[in-house]
């Protein structure tokens, strides 16, 4: 069906299966998608704007707790909306990072086992290439989310040092002087070329252009495997961004420059929040990210006042007259009577659905234009109608053949109905006007109710 169909169960395979619960709570319980324009009911439950509007127009109850509620009492759930937006941004990269991290961890475990076997013969070979890498490693372990590389520099060095001291015994070979070295290094952001025990970096093939994280992880992988293949050679490393070989001592600064040049670090939750608080109105929070959406389809989000002004009332089915509904629909620009004359109920349903679409669109972060919305309504209705026949009929049912074989029955039925009508007119009495025709065919045509109501009943009802 669809290739990309994200689902909370994606997280089960990652090292943090608890994220499944997080994502489940970021999804609407009605449509099982991430919330779009989340609304909170008066009982405190959150749904997509369109979902809850549809539910409330069929039964005026909250789907979760069944408490009575009305549409005008729905309120924006701004925090959830922000959560969903920022989650949406990081979801893919977070999943990729976690999955590859798990694979890599397995690989590292394997490598460590091998290293332990080899350690007896070569105890000193474990030394690390660059302390700078250590810093990266700690940060990644704590927080495997994409972030601009420059930020890491600002970390409190004492805490990272504490963490480093509590690291696995693999690093206990370091001397205290080296530790001070590394402290200076990381606090001043200067990389000093290593002189001692320089185990070699292989050029890494798996560097992907936009995923620096995996690049540095790959480095770590090779570093931890280094004891098996201690080769000496040139100190050139491929930059993970531009793929140009750079001197190892300058690679850090070069990579930073490269990232800045690229200029598109993945937007972080912090940024999204900052944008919303700076503009003041939470409605404008997505205007930046959706700026590139074509203008023919979308318009900027509505302000709170606009929304209140444009909000459509629900109305009352029994009070509304058919002509009024028709006029309303025509004024909006929705076509009536596409296939023959629509009944009042059909028109009313259409108007209700339009009201739902319209009101939900007002809440949307990137509302569609009226024309796009009318198209949506039409396709929605078409889908609903297209499904209908298969609900009523069996798979092997052939309408034409069936009506041919039972044609005489139908004629008989019509004649009967006509007779009843004329009799009734003569007598002026209504006693059991509908019963005789229906009763006479019941036995012969079991299961043919659809056809019967199509042909037999109009005559009987007309009277």
């Amino acid at each position: 069906m669809e290739e990309d169909f994200p689902d909370p169960t994606d997280w089960i395979q990652t090292p943090v299966p608890g994220l499944q619960a997080l994502e489940t709570s970021l999804r609407c319980q009605v449509c099982k998608e991430l919330f779009t324009a989340p609304k909170v009911t008066s009982c405190g439950h959150t749904f997509c704007s369109l979902c809850i509007r549809r539910c409330l127009s069929t039964t005026s109850k909250c789907p979760i707790c069944m408490k009575t509620d009305e549409e005008p009492r729905l309120r924006d759930n701004i925090v959830v909306s922000e959560l969903v937006n920022s989650f949406n941004v990081i979801r893919k990269s977070l999943l990729e990072t976690l999955v590859s991290k798990k694979e890599e961890e397995e690989a590292r475990k394997q490598a460590e086992e091998e290293a332990q076997q080899g350690a007896k013969s070569r105890p000193k070979a474990e030394k690390r290439g660059s302390y700078d890498l250590d810093d990266d490693e700690i940060m990644e372990d704590a927080e495997p989310v994409h972030r601009p590389r420059g930020k890491r520099r600002r970390q409190d060095t004492t805490t990272s040092r504490l963490v480093r001291e509590a690291e696995p015994p693999r690093r206990s070979t370091r001397t205290s002087s080296q530790r001070t070295n590394s402290k200076i290094e990381s606090s001043q952001s200067i990389v000093i070329p290593d002189s001692d025990d320089d185990d070699e970096f292989q050029p890494i093939e798996e560097f992907s252009e936009d995923d620096f994280q995996s690049g540095s992880r790959a480095k770590r992988k090779t570093a931890s495997r280094a004891p098996e293949t201690p080769t000496k050679g040139s100190s050139l490393i491929d930059c993970p961004i531009c793929f140009q070989p750079k001197d190892r001592s300058k690679i850090e600064a070069h990579v930073n420059r490269c990232i800045e040049k690229k200029g598109s670090p993945p937007p972080t939750p912090v940024r999204a929040n900052g944008a919303s608080s700076s503009t003041g109105t939470p409605l404008k929070r997505q205007s930046v990210s959706f700026a590139n959406v074509s203008k023919s389809q979308h318009r900027p989000p509505y302000t709170a006042e606009e929304r209140e002004k444009l909000r459509l009332p629900k109305g009352n089915s029994s009070l509304a007259k058919e002509a009024d509904i028709r006029k309303k629909l025509r004024d909006i620009g929705i076509r009536c009577d596409l296939k023959g004359k629509d009944s009042k109920q059909v028109l009313w349903n259409r108007l209700q659905e339009w009201t739902n679409f319209w009101n939900a669109n007002l809440d949307s972060d990137n509302p569609k234009t009226k024309i796009a919305l009318i198209k949506d309504l039409e396709t929605y209705e078409k889908n609903q109608l297209a499904q209908k026949p298969s609900v009523v009929q069996d798979k092997g049912f052939e309408r034409e053949a069936w009506s041919n074989t039972h044609n005489t029955n139908f004629e008989h039925l019509t004649a009967n109905a006509r007779k009843t009508v004329s009799q009734k007119k003569e007598n002026g009495v209504e006693t059991e006007a509908t019963k005789p025709p229906l009763g006479s065919v019941e036995g012969r045509q079991a299961g043919a109710e659809t056809e019967l109501s199509g042909i037999g009943s109009p005559e009987t009802v007309e009277a």
């Binding site: 069906m1 689902d7 169960t9 889908n383 609900v391």
Partner: protein, 165 residues
């Protein structure tokens, strides 16, 4: 097909495969029609249904999840709350709104937040604890009330038959 309903069903299907619940297996019969599912429900342990594997079809309306699906057993099964033709009578599958007879409270009935998994779990617990107060199959209700031994005997036969014994 109703795109919204299909997306929702797709999501439920993924959830069912990736996060299996014991004793419940369900999925669409054909790829081109996501609105018709087949499901297998294991007979709950410590009941006469134990060991049985009961097949049923789930038919989803096009306005799913606003309206409930229809569940119909396709194997022989004797149960006070299952009509002789296999249709299941259970409050979770009844359309929302209040019961005019005030028998079922609204909270027991269908709501869009219910799912295939929850429906099948309810059916499983219904198999374990029949409600003979509102019987769908009158004969079964009567037998359940008056001749429990006979009822259990027939049910065991059904269970054996359902797994082809």
């Amino acid at each position: 097909m109703a795109a919204k309903a299909v997306r929702r069903l797709l999501s439920e299907y993924r959830e069912l495969i990736n996060n299996e619940t014991e004793g419940i297996y369900a999925g669409p019969i054909a790829e081109d029609n996501f609105m018709l599912w087949e499901c297998l429900i294991a007979g709950p342990p410590d009941t006469p249904f134990e060991g049985g594997m009961f097949s049923a079809t789930l038919k989803f309306p096009d306005d799913y999840p606003l309206s409930p699906p229809e569940l119909k057993f396709t194997c022989d099964i004797l149960h006070p709350n299952i009509y002789p033709d296999g249709t299941v009578c259970i409050s979770i599958l009844h359309p929302p709104g209040d019961d005019p007879l005030n028998y079922e409270s609204a909270s027991e009935r269908w709501s869009p937040i219910q799912s295939v998994e929850k429906v099948l779990l309810s059916v499983m617990s219904m198999l374990a604890e029949p409600n003979d107060e509102s019987g769908a199959n009158i004969d079964a209700s009567k037998m359940f009330r008056e001749d429990r031994a006979q009822y259990e005997k027939i049910v065991r036969q059904c269970a054996r038959k359902s797994v082809g014994l």
